[in-house]
Symmetry: C2
Subunit: 502 residues, 2 copies
Amino acid sequence: MATALAQLHERLAELADLQHASSVLHWDQGVMMPDDGAAQRGEALGTLARLTHEQFTSARTAELIEAAALEAQALDPDSDDARLVRKVRHDHERAIRVPAQLAADLARAASAGHHAWVAARAADDFSMFAPHLRRNLELTRAYVDCFDGHAEAYDVLLEDYDAGTTTATVRGLFEQLKARLVPLIARLRDQQIDSSVLHVAYPVAAQRQLVGEVVRRMGFQDSGWRLDDTVHPFATSFGSGDVRITTRYDAHYFPTALYGAMHECGHGLYNQGVADALQRGWLARPDSLALHESQSRMWENFVGRGRAFSELLARRVGELSGGALDGLDGQTLYRAVNAVRPSLIRIEADETTYSLHVILRFELEQQLIEGRLAVEELPDAWRALMAEYLGVEVPSDADGVLQDVHWSEGLIGYFPTYVLGNLIAGHLWECAHTALPALEGELAAGEFTSLREWLRHNVHRHGAKYTSVELLERVAGAPLAVEPFMNYLERKLSDVYEVTLA
Amino acid sequence: MATALAQLHERLAELADLQHASSVLHWDQGVMMPDDGAAQRGEALGTLARLTHEQFTSARTAELIEAAALEAQALDPDSDDARLVRKVRHDHERAIRVPAQLAADLARAASAGHHAWVAARAADDFSMFAPHLRRNLELTRAYVDCFDGHAEAYDVLLEDYDAGTTTATVRGLFEQLKARLVPLIARLRDQQIDSSVLHVAYPVAAQRQLVGEVVRRMGFQDSGWRLDDTVHPFATSFGSGDVRITTRYDAHYFPTALYGAMHECGHGLYNQGVADALQRGWLARPDSLALHESQSRMWENFVGRGRAFSELLARRVGELSGGALDGLDGQTLYRAVNAVRPSLIRIEADETTYSLHVILRFELEQQLIEGRLAVEELPDAWRALMAEYLGVEVPSDADGVLQDVHWSEGLIGYFPTYVLGNLIAGHLWECAHTALPALEGELAAGEFTSLREWLRHNVHRHGAKYTSVELLERVAGAPLAVEPFMNYLERKLSDVYEVTLA
């Protein structure tokens, strides 16, 4: 007779298999599928999602969880199995609160909203999108109402993207960030940095070579990874032996492909680094988006756009550019890719202004969900905050409130994880430097092994075992704060602008 | 309240979705997946197969079938729904006879057998493979024992690959074929045909261009198809809007890629041509391998290696060959690709000798399953038949009994469908020419639309609605015979060898 824990493992392994299938279908849809396959693919994904939900929320799964919980009482509370039971129970309790009808309505509204958003953005017409946003908000409020015990509605939403983090905590951190970033950006925005070196013709074949070399330094291996092209880059994985990342190439702006690939490779390393013991199980997929983003942003910005690696990178960029960037030096590249330039579009923003794009969205979506802001007031509210935080005038809704896909699909509560990722990366970067005194020298040589292995040991191998709060406590011995990230950023900007900051 | 038929449709649509997912995972495994993903992919495919089987064989599905069967009594027996019920009931009755344990044992033995076969073939050591073949045969006999009412064991196996066709029928047809092919091949084998024109360096990029042009003439469209490279070419589809084919390129032998792609595109057209009304249902996937092979072989051999198309093809081959094949003419190409050359390997065999490779396997696997031939006697029996039918001496088991994957995975009863496909193609070719008097002229101009649309109307759109026997009766008004294929082949060989045959 198998133990309850063994039976629970078996059930969860099946769910992992269904999740594996869904993930492959999603990857294929984004990377390989011809257009005419969309309708049937949507049906197949819908059926897989429903079967997964049914199996997970079934009475049988509930029994197995409760029986396993009894067995787990005898275990070290920090053991894999004890943590597994805690995590599964948490997720199960949340999943069973949402009626199947509401889940289906949310999925349908997300799909309709996405289509409407594509059309509205193309037409630069917010009114085409407004009814769908209203519907998404209405359903999201119904979703919030399925839960109790939270201090504010937004807590329920945030829990899905970074469990254990409260809105009050995020608000406090973001207020501190804003107080430091807004004046900093205002001070630097008129300083001249020459970034023309980035905007040159750079053959895509040579960019591919460069990207391939850099991600291989990071840990990409042909035996267990793929790198493909997509318009919207992303990372996914189907177990630690099959990690897929994508990037896109701009023939006149190489940072898009290079830093984008480093970002996605950071996500990929996290997925790949989960311990073997957790594979094909409920803890195998790290699900704190804040932790995930801490990895991608650290590799993209802290390493990729860092001073140490810029020297080697500049040389290689020059060698591969076909003459256009011959003689590029590290400091020129470093200054160009870190220049502070307030702009309209979040995903094109520099590392310094990026956080304010996110904070703006975090504030607006809270007001929307609580009914303090009406949908029709949103475009003006957006314009006002862009002017206040970034000094940027928004010329059109297409480049303003309609720029991101998230709200169209009902993804409310997702945005703050991008900045929480920055803040966590700040802590981890400090800890890694303390643990690895030779790190800067290694990064300058393009030697990424120590950093990757440190991250694997301290972050990746745990999979979904810990919340971001717990993990940071384990690694840094401290709660999340803005100082590590801001200290890192101000040091960088002092170098870039050759001024003394803070 | 939904009718029983509507409820059955819904249930079968879910099964189609699971099948869709499995097919995508298989395609990805064969075309995209990095090696290290194999273990988790195997688990995911296993779980999907088990869930599909459980849902299909469940009591609920049985109830729905019986209730739908009552409703269907009021329908035209040839209507989609009446045929659907008949087909589902047939498949369900077969599926429930096989115990889950036996199904799992078969799957495990197939996997182990495949691995052992790869190693045995590489080592040219039949003894490494023999125990696995014994195990596969033992389990296959247990599988046969799950059924009753058949005249001989092999009928049960054949039913899985071409339902409604009996071993006695196949045996009769194959005896006639053998009686005509063996002396024909003996007569032609020493005639000289110059095929050196095929064995020249032909840049792969130019071959890709050629393949792309030809499959587009056949019906390949970027909006609903993919063409990729694999070592083992295959075709699959996920609904009519997403057809995937693969081919492989030999830089010194262009027929591999070109005719291989036409073969797979023939399979793809069949999948794509299934009527919209049958999509996402139990009849959406044509499952007679004999019918499927009739399509691939017709496009590969009847069209691709036919006299009419060879003229245009020769010209284009010349233009794209980079000078190596400048001035190639249609008759030279036609003769080269249809030369009769008895050889060791089935998948490299010419159209004339191919059938004897298959007949040999058909005869040996019957003897094996009935215990009339012991596994250890198989290599010698293989050698004896190769000498008798093709006059070929087999120098090694690697190029003999170990050359094909099928038996290693327990696929016994599969081989004859390749030749049944040839025979069905012979009938369809005759009927198409009767219906389309201008066909040869169109093929000469590379105009494939009439033929494709004729096939779609007469074959493709029906999906799995009819067995191969029923379909042939509908289209040709006759039972399967060897004459149409042999007449076609003898006409071709008369042209190629410039002699009078038959």
